[in-house]
Symmetry: C2
Subunit: 308 residues, 2 copies
């Protein structure tokens, strides 16, 4: 079944211990859609500038991604520069030029109206809310956000969260969203009380945990954790979280039913796609995968914690 992602397309300048790269095709919607494309049909709503060429669009189209929702606007595409020299787990931003992204008003093509799954990548919560209302018929909505919105637009974010089924954020964001609660399970409960039925907290190299609202997607009071395989080759951590979200949501969209077992597997697939993303600069690794490679790593991740 089809999934629509609404978010940023960008060009990134990245410096990591493995080297320096400029003008890499990036952005949350790009990483998400490439990762999700190995599981299901993907549609994108985003805005780009005149520097985004047919060649760039082909990167997505080659993966079967429907790019009719990418709006071509006058000016430059969103550009971001960051480095990971001190810490591979956290980017130090060097510059952020929003460019055409500053005035992004998501337009949903009529052809996308039958979309069944929606992912609201990290954009202004009011825009997320507007898209969510327009896509009223979706079966399931996933969402992301960041510190900037948690502290800057808390009311708008709270309003949007009421209509997000599964929120995907990291440890720091979860604790911040829970008003500074430092205990993760308690922070999770507070976030779930804001609306989502499930909360995925991403732990970077330690994997991710999904917490459920009582009775949501099945029974049981315990969370579920998918550990990430510790990988030796981390060239560029950019987009790991968005690729995680793409694998997670893409796998869910590929399944007929949505239950806890599906969500657990989706958590593993999220980790798998995140781990591929970081092996090369930009989206290179995500452009050239096979489903066999993905399932092979899924098995490795599974065996990583499997007792006889």
């Amino acid at each position: 079944m089809s999934i629509l992602v609404v978010g940023s397309v960008a060009f990134d300048d990245i410096t990591s211990p493995s080297g320096q790269m400029k003008d890499l095709l990036g952005g949350a919607a790009t990483y998400f859609s490439l990762a999700a494309s190995y599981f299901t049909d993907v549609r994108v709503v985003a805005v780009v500038g005149e520097d985004f060429t047919a060649e760039h669009e082909t990167v997505m189209q080659k993966r079967g991604i429907d790019t009719r929702g990418i709006e071509h606007s006058e000016g430059k595409t969103f550009r971001w520069g960051g480095q990971y020299l001190d810490n591979l787990n956290e980017a130090k931003t060097e510059f952020t030029d929003l460019n055409v992204f500053e005035k992004f008003q998501p337009q949903i093509p009529a052809a996308y109206n039958d979309t069944q799954f929606l992912f609201l990548a990290n954009i202004h919560p009011t825009l997320q809310g507007e898209v969510r209302r327009k896509m009223n018929g979706v079966r399931l909505t996933g969402g992301d956000t960041m510190n900037f919105w948690i502290t800057g637009t808390p009311k708008e974010l709270a309003e949007t969260l009421k209509n997000v089924n599964i929120l995907l954020i990291n440890d720091t964001e979860a604790k911040m969203l829970a008003g500074g609660e430092r205990n993760l399970p308690r922070a999770a409960q507070k976030v779930l009380a804001m609306g989502p039925q499930a909360l995925v907290i991403k732990h970077g190299e330690y994997g991710a945990t999904i917490f459920f609202r009582e009775g949501a997607f099945g029974v049981g009071k315990h969370p579920f954790r998918a550990p990430a395989l510790p990988i030796e080759e981390v060239k560029d951590p950019t987009g790991a979280g968005d690729s995680f979200a793409g694998g997670f949501m893409g796998y869910i969209a590929s399944q007929g039913e949505i239950n806890r077992e599906v969500l657990k597997r989706a958590l593993f697939y999220g980790g798998v796609m995140g781990s591929f993303a970081v092996e090369r600069f930009g989206t290179e690794r995500l452009q050239n995968l096979t489903r066999d490679e993905i399932d092979e790593r899924f098995q490795i991740f599974r065996e990583l914690t499997h007792l006889e």
Copy 2:
């Protein structure tokens, strides 16, 4: 089979968001031996001062721990004060009074000579090495260390590590011991090249990973990870790592064979004992457990990452 732990017995003053407690019986050897006592026979070599009473010793003896190796010395027991107000994952030391521990010269009672498993808790690596040589007939030696020795006595530590089968340290220590290597799997390979056949890296609330030297304890190139259950009740993180080591080594000592499957289960039991330790101040929770409670949590941890 019996296990001997050599390390500190201490009194701790702890301040955490849950409150403030003074004169708590603590120390690595105490946490380790209480945790291990649920799996196997435990023997302790440590030094205490005149403030360590029969009542304190009874805490261990009630759990069947052989305390004949605890040397009673003139002066005060090792005392440590720390607080976790800013960060539950890392203690801020308020004071360290080594007292009788400063001149600790481990004496092994003759009755301990038939011990089969040895754990060298965090003491001067030269002392660890001496104990290791005296206990030449053990089947397996586990060890711990800390930043202080990694940077202060690297040669002595390197010498000791040659005769440690399984080293248990945390992420920061592993990276430091590997000369500042920031990638965990690569850091692990460097540490394994120093001597140990296996390296357990503890990740705090994210669990622990065991890395194996090629061919050690079985076949396969992949590490194994035991995720910890995110727990809502963290009153006092002190001793979590030592309790982890006690559960890990205690379980191994309780098994006839030492192979990868045993080590994997041991990693889960380590996490289980660490998670119990932090639920109450000091060693309170470790004094009053049942094996049923332990195995119940083992199942919960196992299901935490188990796919159908």
